[in-house]
Symmetry: C2
Subunit: 271 residues, 2 copies
């Protein structure tokens, strides 16, 4: 048994979709969440800047004596995981790439896998080798989707909205035409678009939620290491770098329920 | 004559539309530009965070012995001009609000003025009192347009694009229905949407470009203070806080021509 909390961070609040999945598979764990809301989004920034921000995010969470760190940010997972691992020393780090790649590889039947993510994640090229470790012959079709994050953050997630439907069609048409049977949602914002994306891609295409895949991997690893919590309902602490005002409303979008636990603002510049 | 440069900053590269206008009215001035590209956008952040960022931006430009500072960021102009003025001491500061409000007031015939800007700018309420100083009876109809910045930054600026046309119609419909004859483009990204916005609002509506209005005000003030430059073609220096790579391509969108002058990356954390 290990009563220490799990740390989770994202560039903003999209990573709360991963907290939601973690809460489902590990209801008895304490979680400390950090959303770098004063510098979100990371996905359009340079690798160097993403690494600097990621190092500060990890150092902050390490100050909580965490037993594991979940990088619920696709961009950091693909672009700056080395920096996070260095900041975490012996504490295990779970990025979203590995578990998601494994799940995509086991999902595909025709060996054609689509991948959508932020420009930085696509540029990193991190997913393809990870998928090929589990499915050496997979053909991977990727596409950067720079407008998905701002559209989700502005609530444009519902079927019937011509704006999101047009952008989804534009971004996904090449992947649909390529005949993928599995589509990796490589950014924690994207599960909120599942209905629109699912409707466009059709029933034969499995959508892989990177937050869910990672939450399952974390649960398996903690179980294997006999490091689960007490089983009591876990506590939550949330930190943001911009004002905490308005957090609840947006957070509940991603969490799928109201938040519980304190929310505080923190400055990362000293980390 | 005053050979010192003019400082200009924006949260990102949208402020280059103001540099373009400054270059037209004051071709003989040196300009130092700062775009805080590692933290853009400001317009969706809290007032407190915007003030902190704005103070750092101003302090950085003050290190160049500038003769005037142009805040080519609508969000900072409406939300944090006090912080910038404090950082600048005796150096005159030109936000976009005052000149834009004056121009809008002189443009309207029916006294109905529309205002579009970022959520932070609209929340600040800064434009209405400024417009009423020049047109006490003006009726002002405002609207936050949170998707315009990401859409412009993704090149969605052309008539015929159903995405930008749908969003423009959604945001501007209430202003059009209110019968405004003047529309303030209160963010330096928005001039790139002039064609789509102009087509939707119709020929009877004058669009007020905040960067252009401010450039004219700066020119008038420098002339009045006998502080113009030598008349030689001015030099340019550009600074960004994210990687300078890719700057030229995006910058030329906003400048309307290729860039000239050096581009360097800078860290603002020490300011």
């Amino acid at each position: 048994m290990d009563l220490r909390p799990i740390g989770v961070f994202d560039s903003g609040l999209g990573g709360l979709t991963a907290v939601r999945r973690l809460s489902e598979v590990l209801p008895g764990e304490d979680i400390v969440y950090l959303g770098d809301t004063s510098r979100v989004p990371y996905g359009s920034r340079s690798r160097e800047t993403i690494k600097r921000y990621a190092g500060q995010d990890a150092a902050f969470l390490m100050s909580f004596d965490i037993k594991a760190l979940v990088v619920a940010c696709g961009t950091v997972s693909t672009t700056a995981l080395d920096v996070v691992e260095k900041a975490c020393g012996n504490v295990p780090v779970f990025g979203v790439v590995e578990a998601t790649a494994k799940k995509a590889a086991s999902s595909t039947k025709n060996g054609r896998i689509g991948l959508i993510a932020t420009p930085a994640s696509i540029r990193s090229g991190a997913y393809a080798p990870a998928i090929r470790r589990y499915a050496p012959k997979a053909e991977i079709f990727d596409r950067a989707c720079p407008l998905f994050v701002p559209l989700v953050e502005n609530g444009r997630t519902e079927p019937g909205d011509v704006v999101i439907e047009t952008v989804v069609r534009e971004y996904l048409e090449p992947l649909k035409n390529a005949g993928v049977d599995t589509l990796v949602l490589g950014c924690t914002h994207y599960p909120l678009l599942s209905r629109v994306i699912g409707a466009y891609m059709g029933k034969g295409v499995s959508l892989i939620d990177s937050g869910a895949a990672t939450a399952e991997a974390v649960a398996a690893a903690l179980r294997a290491a006999d490091a689960l919590g007490s089983g009591e309902p876990g506590e939550r602490r949330y930190f943001v770098t911009d004002s905490a005002e308005g957090f609840e409303k947006v957070a509940s979008l991603f969490l799928g329920s109201g938040i519980r636990g304190e929310v505080d603002q923190v400055s990362l510049e000293k980390y």
